[in-house]
């Protein structure tokens, strides 16, 4: 049962796209793997967001093409979700979760509520909450990656991660920069190494000096800009932990973590927002997220594909059923397909294909997690994955019956292969359940929260 290939210790340079990234040491998976007792909980959370909803119930009353129907175990997976058919037993499909009535009918309104559970984005989002609770001991409290999520200076409510009420922060859209930050020169990974970073002592002095300057400023300013300074200080402390930790102090990798690298060539900066490259960028980011978690650099990750009201021209995706050389079909454009599900109407036909493509990205993520061993199983067994978008039906923009899908074993706490229908329960409770699955004892989160979703977790 405990089959794993022994890893040899080696270090080498990887040159990618002109950037020279040195891995001064590689971890040794020497000790016994971290064993998870049954039902201990999810080792990690990955949120995968896609924009502009799904073909839900139409304005003319046709049933949703996304939502499963049937019994808890005997449900049918619709054609649109066919990429998830092989993953049926690892998924839990959720019907009946609502984000409430405020701003119902708007994309930004939905995006603000999605991970915060609070109208208008007036609260911290669940990923940030978990980052500073269960994630606080990791080298990175959380990792927030995007694929063209900052396109055209997208900002504010186009981003879904809220470090504090009303304030978002942008994801990292560039896989090369993200890789640098996670695995770049001088960044230690767990497991010990004979050659510590020669500049480490200086880096420690620098971070201490920066902390001292921040402390002095805060006291000098009294209460002025307290929130901003507190956040700055908190971020300094997070980086301080990383800098000061000896390689031996860092948590060991949970899975294969040898020679981390970008899984393919990344587009140069000038092509980072070329729509034809979107699939490869998203794939790089997914791979990077999985790799970071395999190396145990973080427990909380949010992957944001584009942003609401997306101008992403999905008909430029090469080698997909979406591709059409001369015809532009954008995500938001397709989402406004009209009052009924009419496959004869081009927008609708494309919209269905687009959403199927996004479902396929979840399948890809699950495949990556499944392919890496962890403890007595795979990373997927110990992960919790949430697929989400900011509205239900893209045309009506309603915030009811949101198309959430959960996946992964959550360390034994979540049984797959189920369809759960919650009537009209507030989605805040999904966020509570996610926290609980991660080992946090949260009882309510956001607005109108009544505790975790009954029956979801073991």
């Amino acid at each position: 049962m405990n089959q794993r290939n022994p890893l040899s210790r080696r270090s080498f340079l990887k040159a990618l796209g002109g950037a020279s990234l040195a891995l001064p040491f590689l971890q040794l998976l020497g000790d016994a793997p971290t064993a998870f007792a049954d039902g201990l909980g999810a080792r990690r959370l990955i949120i995968l967001y896609f924009p502009d909803g799904v073909p839900g119930p139409s304005q003319n009353g046709e049933p949703s093409l996304w939502h499963c129907s049937g019994g808890e175990r005997s449900f049918a997976i619709p054609d649109l979700l066919s990429p998830l058919e092989p993953w049926r037993d690892r998924c839990v499909f959720l019907n009946g979760l609502s984000m409430g009535g405020t701003d119902a009918g708007s994309h930004p309104g939905g995006a603000k509520k999605l991970l915060t559970g609070v109208d208008g984005g007036g609260g911290e989002s669940i990923d940030r909450y978990l980052a500073r609770t269960v994630g606080a001991d990791s080298p990175h409290r959380m990792v927030y990656l995007g694929a063209m999520a900052n396109h055209n200076n997208a900002s504010g409510d186009k981003h879904i991660s809220y470090p504090s009420a009303g304030q978002t922060t942008p994801p990292e859209d560039n896989p090369v920069d993200a890789f640098e930050r996670l695995f770049g020169q001088g960044v230690p990974t767990g497991g010990g190494d004979p050659a510590p970073d020669p500049r480490k002592a200086q880096k420690v002095s620098v971070i201490d000096g920066a902390l001292a300057e921040m402390a002095a400023l805060r006291s000098r300013l009294g209460g002025v800009e307290q929130r901003k300074l507190d956040q700055h200080l908190d971020s300094l402390r997070e980086v301080e932990r990383r800098i000061k930790a000896d390689a031996a102090e860092l948590p060991p990798p949970v899975s294969t973590c040898d020679s981390p690298g970008l899984s393919g060539p990344a587009p140069p900066r000038s092509e980072l927002y070329e729509p034809g490259r979107f699939p490869e960028v998203l794939k790089l980011q997914i791979d990077l997220m999985v790799q970071a978690m395999a190396c145990n650099l973080t427990r909380v990750g949010t992957l944001q594909a584009s942003h609401h009201t997306s101008e992403l021209i999905m008909s430029r995706f090469p080698d997909t059923e979406l591709y059409d050389a001369g015809y532009d079909m954008r995500s938001h454009q397709a989402s406004h397909y009209g009052a009924s599900h009419d496959f004869g109407h081009r927008e609708f036909a494309e919209y269905v294909k687009q959403r199927r493509w996004f479902a396929g990205q979840l399948a890809y993520l699950l495949e990556q997690l499944q392919s890496r061993p962890e403890a007595d199983g795979t990373m997927l067994d110990y992960s919790l994955v949430l697929l989400c978008t900011e509205v239900c039906d893209g045309n009506t923009h309603q915030h009811d019956n949101m198309p959430f899908v959960l996946a992964g074993g959550a360390g034994g706490r979540m049984a797959g292969g189920r369809l759960l229908d919650f009537g009209t329960r507030r989605h805040s409770d999904l966020l509570v359940s996610i926290a609980n699955a991660m080992g946090d004892g949260l009882r309510s989160f956001g607005q109108e929260s009544n505790g975790g979703l009954p029956g979801l977790l073991a």
Partner: protein, 786 residues
């Protein structure tokens, strides 16, 4: 609104009510089509109690003059009207009520029939009467003697004391100026960096980023000609077929030519005697296989990078600025949340900066190898004070010096000390904290004032003269401050910032990243986008600094700036080369900014024009009039119909009264742009149909002012806008936002009125407006944190 029906779209009437609710409660929320550009959002203001009352604001003096139902009218107004018309009636997304001069009956009638916006049935009859009475008694004519009800509350309209994180643009410029060394002396080009510099007046000067010098050393051989051949000119074997001829410089012993290049990466070689021999550029280490077993030389031109040399791309991986809802500028004061990602990037940049300073003799008071504590102190007192834009306090000097001496090796000590200098909040933020004046306000210190002036006008740190003026106390007086403001405004460095302001004000930064249909517009590439952005920057900068300085020229100009990329789009002939130069609009169809490709292409889809986006551009960006979000199932863009024009396809907006209620303000404005396609090219027909580009700039001074202004072409539209008070007020507002970093609200009424007056009395002089901002209280005074 929600019930058991899972994600079921509501009935039509419910949608209408929802839309109304949406609009009324989030008046000015950005439309779903736009990139969040609604300019108004209700702001947390300590003076607003949230119940319609307002501490110490305009209406406080008038509530004794009650007519019978003023009190009830007050409550109704607060509930139904204030969100759009402002708590003190000055106007928000709805027009101002102060200037109402159509009489009571008309006010009652309009309120009854059309107000509140989107749900007029909510206030009719007695309600309309009460609200109208309140409005007239409170805002329009409280004393019954036509006094303007403008009582200014000095405190409420000041920004709070704050610190503002440097934007990427500001960080890069600051670093460039901080590390600038005196130009190297030269007697000939050989003394400078041959590829990137020229020798002018005895000093080496940087060439513009897109201009490169090619030089070839023949190693004693004699050639009759040498030329450059490469991917940029299709590898010509001879000069006659397009090779870039080089000239022989006997003094230098080199063949030389200087060329301006498009952005990109290019392979090239030197060719002697029209094809006899081909050479690699041995001075250039970068190369690529040439397919014949040899190497081509490789040159990269990337002018988006912050600077060249050791600090190239310093801010390239910094996180982008977050712009709060409805705030279009990167100068937002309130956001700037520093996450761990920011810290990592700042530390990396600080290390690079520290290394650069430590190895630059020109910046150190003593050679690095001889640095001791005394010299380090001198460095901090000089260079350090410039970096922090103020003298360092004794405790700060001690702390930083302690870092220097704590390291074992001198070099490490210097590096650590400098890295902390560049990682400290005193470097990363600009401060608007001030010192107490005694009346509850705080006035920015001399140093803070200097920084606010330099970042406002130049987007960078103060220069030596400005630091000197601060030290001498000149910025404490209005005259001294204004004198420096005028000096900065008159300096060429001001041109960069006005160009950036323009791109952000107009919302056309996205021209650099927006995508267009490649089959329809194969030439819309990186060089074209950059040219479009540069055109708008240079045009606005030229109007403000080189021409009349007047607002109306921005709209009425019959010229723009173009290069060879743009010549095709504008239908110009005889324009070659990538440098932009002034050209007259050739087609008689364009006028000022409305004719810019950056505007027309940013407000269009990838494959079609968009009267909606263009109409909203005029409303939002030029008139500061915001409409609510469209109802959710409004339907998307009508499909491209090969047999119909865009105007015909959008007919439903006019035909359907439900759609018409909002679209009456959008479509008729935007249809006038239909002569211009998705990338701003002129067209006379669309899908074989002639284009009707007439329009109606209705209600230009405010929504529901019930005016019509039909126009036959863009020049006429531009004339209407140039004359409009709303357009000028909007410009004032936009510029103030950019400087102060916040959306204005009711409390800024006085500041805005003063700026509007100044703008009017100078006939729309933008420089006068910019100076007026610096002399208003809002510039140097702050109120305490609530």
């Amino acid at each position: 609104m929600t019930d058991q029906a899972p994600c079921r779209p509501p009935a039509r009437w419910a949608v209408f009510a929802l839309a109304a609710l949406l609009t009324a409660s989030a008046c000015g929320a950005p439309t779903s089509e736009e990139d969040g550009a609604g300019p108004w959002s209700p702001r947390n203001n300590e003076a607003n109690n949230g119940d319609g009352t307002n501490n110490g604001a305009n209406n406080a003096n008038h509530n004794t003059n009650n007519s019978d139902n003023t009190l009830e009218g007050r409550q109704l107004y607060a509930e139904l009207c204030a969100d759009c018309h402002g708590d003190n009636g000055r106007g928000h997304s709805g027009p101002t009520l102060w200037d109402w001069d159509r009489g009571r009956d008309a006010l009652v009638a309009i309120t009854d029939a059309t107000m509140p916006y989107g749900e007029p049935e909510v206030c009719e009859g007695a309600c309309a009467e009460a609200v109208a009475s309140f409005i007239l008694a409170t805002f329009v004519d409280p004393g019954g003697d036509n006094n303007t009800p403008l009582v200014c509350d000095g405190l409420a309209e000041l920004p709070t004391r704050r610190i503002r994180l440097l934007t990427r643009r500001e960080y890069a410029a600051t670093v460039r100026d901080l590390l600038q060394q005196p130009a190297a002396r030269c007697s000939s080009l050989r003394d400078c960096d041959l590829r990137h510099q020229t020798c002018e007046a005895g000093a080496c000067a940087d060439l513009p980023c897109d201009v490169k010098t090619f030089y070839f050393d023949p190693q004693g051989a004699r050639y009759s000609s040498v030329h450059v051949a490469g991917e940029f000119n299709a590898w010509p074997a001879t000069v006659a077929t397009g090779g870039w001829a080089m000239a022989w410089d006997a003094d230098l012993g080199l063949w030389i030519t200087q060329r301006s290049l498009d952005p990109g990466t290019f392979q090239y070689k030197f060719v002697a005697n029209n094809g006899e021999r081909w050479f690699q550029d041995t001075s250039n280490p970068e190369g690529a296989p040439d397919g014949f077993g040899g190497q081509n030389s490789l040159l990269q031109v990337d002018c988006a990078a912050a600077s060249s040399g050791a600090l190239a791309g310093l801010t390239a991986s910094f996180p982008p600025e977050t712009r709060p809802e409805g705030f279009p500028f990167d100068t937002a004061a309130d956001t700037g949340n520093v996450t761990a990602v920011h810290i990592e990037e700042y530390l990396k940049a600080a290390e690079r900066l520290a290394d650069e300073v430590a190895s630059s003799d020109g910046l150190l008071p003593c050679p690095a190898a001889l640095m001791d504590a005394a010299c380090a102190r001198t460095l901090l007192e000089g260079f350090g004070a410039q970096a922090w834009r103020r003298p360092l306090e004794a405790a700060e000097l001690d702390r930083l010096l302690g870092l220097f001496t704590a390291q074992g090796r001198r070099a490490d000590g210097l590096r650590v000390m400098l890295t902390v200098l560049f990682s400290a909040p005193s470097f990363l933020y600009r401060f608007e904290v001030g010192e107490a004046v005694g009346d509850g306000t705080f006035r920015l210190t001399a140093w803070e004032t200097a920084s606010l002036l330099s970042y406002t006008f130049w987007g960078t740190m103060p220069d030596t003269a400005l630091f000197d003026a601060a030290r001498a106390g000149e910025l404490a007086t209005d005259q001294g401050l204004e004198a420096q403001a005028r000096r900065l405004l008159g300096d060429p460095r001001a041109e960069n910032v006005i160009g950036e302001f323009a791109l952000q004000w107009l919302g056309v930064e996205k021209i650099l990243t927006t995508n267009k249909n490649q089959a329809m517009f194969p030439d819309f590439d990186v060089a074209t986008r950059q040219a479009m952005a540069e055109e708008t920057r240079q045009f606005v900068s030229h109007v403000v600094f080189g021409s009349s300085h007047k607002y109306d020229e921005l709209l009425l100009a019959d010229y723009t700036f173009a290069n060879d990329r743009l010549a095709g789009i504008y239908g110009l002939s005889g324009v070659s080369g990538s440098a932009l130069r002034r050209v007259t609009y050739p087609d008689g169809q364009r006028s000022g900014l409305l004719g810019h490709a950056s505007v027309l292409a940013s407000y269009a889809h990838s494959d079609q024009s968009s009267p909606i986006l263009r109409g909203l551009f005029v409303r939002n960006k030029l008139l500061c009039q915001s409409l609510g979000a469209p109802p959710p199932n409004a339907g998307g863009v009508p499909e491209v119909d090969p047999n119909a024009t865009t105007r015909e396809r959008f007919r439903q907006h006019t035909a359907d009264p439900f759609c018409h209620s909002c679209h009456q303000f959008i479509d008729d404005v935007g249809f006038g742009f239909e002569r211009f396609d998705a990338i701003g090219q002129l067209r006379q027909v669309e899908n074989g149909q002639p284009i009707d580009a007439t329009g109606n700039m209705n209600d230009v001074e405010g929504l529901y002012t019930d005016t019509d202004a039909p126009y036959a072409n863009e020049a006429e539209l531009a004339a209407i806008l140039a004359d409009s008070q709303a357009a000028r007020s909007c410009f004032t507002r936009q510029y103030l936002r950019f400087v102060i970093g916040e959306l204005e609200d009711d409390a800024d009424a006085c500041t805005l009125r003063a700026l509007d007056d100044r703008f009017a009395e100078t006939d729309g002089d933008i420089q006068a407006l910019m100076i007026a901002v610096t002399t208003s209280d809002t510039f140097v005074l702050r109120r305490p944190t609530p």
